[in-house]
C-alpha cells in the first residue's frame, strides 16, 4: 500500500521535475541545511540553558517566550524543505536506513518537547529564574540535545547509498531495517 502510493508519488511530474532540476533541488537542499543553524541552533542554545551549563543568568522563560518563535520559524522552513526533498524521491528515502532512523528519532524529539512544554515548563514559575532548572527540565534538555544530534547525523548520512536495497547482497539486519523486498516480491 505505502510502497504503491510512494511509487506513484515519485512518478508525478512535479516530483520528477524537482529531482531532475539543475538548481531547484540544490537550493531546496541548501535551505534545508542552512535552516539547521536557525532551528537546531536556537534549540541547542535553549537545551544548554535547560541543562544548566549556558546562559545561567537568563531566565528559562526568556528562552521559551522570546527565542522559541524563531525556533518555530526554523522548524517550519525545515519541514517544508524536508517534505519537498522527500517528495523528490519518496521510495528511495522510504527504504533508506538513515532516513528511517531519522524519522523515528524526530518523533521521539517531538514527544520529548511536548512533554516538556506540558509538564516541566508549567511548573517553571518555581525554578525559571534559577541558574539550575528542575531535574525534569534538565532531563528534557539532555534528551533534546541527544535526539537532535542523531537527527542531524542520520540526516546527513541519508545521502549515502551504502545500505540501499538495490545494492545487494546486504546483511539481513539491513534488509530488515530498510524494508527491502525479499527476492521474490
Amino acid at each position: 500500500m505505502i510502497e504503491r502510493f510512494l511509487g506513484w508519488l515519485g512518478e508525478t511530474p512535479w516530483s520528477v521535475a524537482l529531482l531532475e532540476s539543475l538548481y531547484v533541488w540544490p537550493l531546496v537542499e541548501s535551505t534545508h541545511v542552512l535552516a539547521l543553524g536557525l532551528f537546531v541552533g536556537t534549540t541547542v542554545m535553549m537545551d544548554l540553558r535547560l541543562v544548566g551549563i549556558a546562559f545561567r543568568r537568563v531566565p528559562v522563560q526568556a528562552f521559551t517566550g522570546r527565542l522559541l518563535p524563531w525556533t518555530h520559524i526554523g522548524f517550519a522552513v525545515m519541514a517544508v524543505t524536508g517534505l519537498l526533498l522527500f517528495y523528490s524521491q519518496p521510495l528511495r528515502y522510504y527504504h533508506n536506513v538513515f532516513f528511517r532512523v531519522k524519522v523515528l528519532v524526530l518523533i521521539a524529539a517531538g514527544i520529548n518537547a511536548f512533554i516538556f512544554h506540558r509538564g516541566a515548563q508549567r511548573q517553571a514559575a518555581e525554578w525559571a529564574d534559577d541558574a539550575m532548572p528542575s531535574r525534569a527540565a534538565r532531563a528534557a534538555g539532555a534528551v533534546s540535545l541527544a535526539a537532535w544530534t542523531v537527527v542531524v547525523v542520520t540526516g546527513r548520512l541519508i545521502a549515502y547509498n551504502w545500505f540501499d536495497c538495490d545494492l545487494q547482497p546486504q546483511p539481513d539486519w539491513v534488509n530488515w531495517a530498510a524494508g527491502c523486498a525479499a527476492g521474490s516480491e
Binding site: 539547521l36 543553524g37 541552533g41 524563531w70 548520512l157
Partner: protein, 156 residues
Amino acid sequence: MLEPFFRWCESTLIGRAVAESVWAFPILEAIHLLGLCMLGGALLVVDLRLLGTGLTGQPIAQLARNARRWLITALAIMVATGIPLFLSEAIKAYYNTSFWVKMITLPIALLFTFAVRERVARAEGLEPGVRGKVVGAVSLALWFTVAAAGRWIGFS
C-alpha cells in the same frame, strides 16, 4: 600559482586517509554540520538581540559574553573537521568557485565577529542602537554567505 600547494595538501597523510576511507568523509561532514548548528545558535542569540528581537530584555553585553564560549567551541569543531575534509579533496576545492567565496568571506566574518561585533555588543545597553542593528545584520549576512558557499561546494 597556489595549485602545487593544493596538490601537496591532497597528498598529505590525513588527506589520503580521509579520501580512501568510506566512512571518514561522511562522519566528518556530519560533525561539521553539528558544529554549524551550534555556530548558528551562538551567533543568532546575539545577532537577533542586536537587531532588537529574540531575547529582548536581556542585557546585550551579558548575552554576548555567555554566547562567546559556544561560538568558539563551534568554530573549533568546524575548523577541526573542515581541515581534513578540505585535505581530502583539495584539488577539487582549488577549481571550485564556492570554495573560494567561502575562504574569502570566512576571515572577514571572523575578523568582524571578534574585532567589531564583540566590542559593539559589549558596549550596548538594553536597547540596541542603529550601530548595534547594523552590526547584527552584517554579522548574519557574512556568516550566511560562509555557510551557503560552504554547502554549495558540494553542488558545483
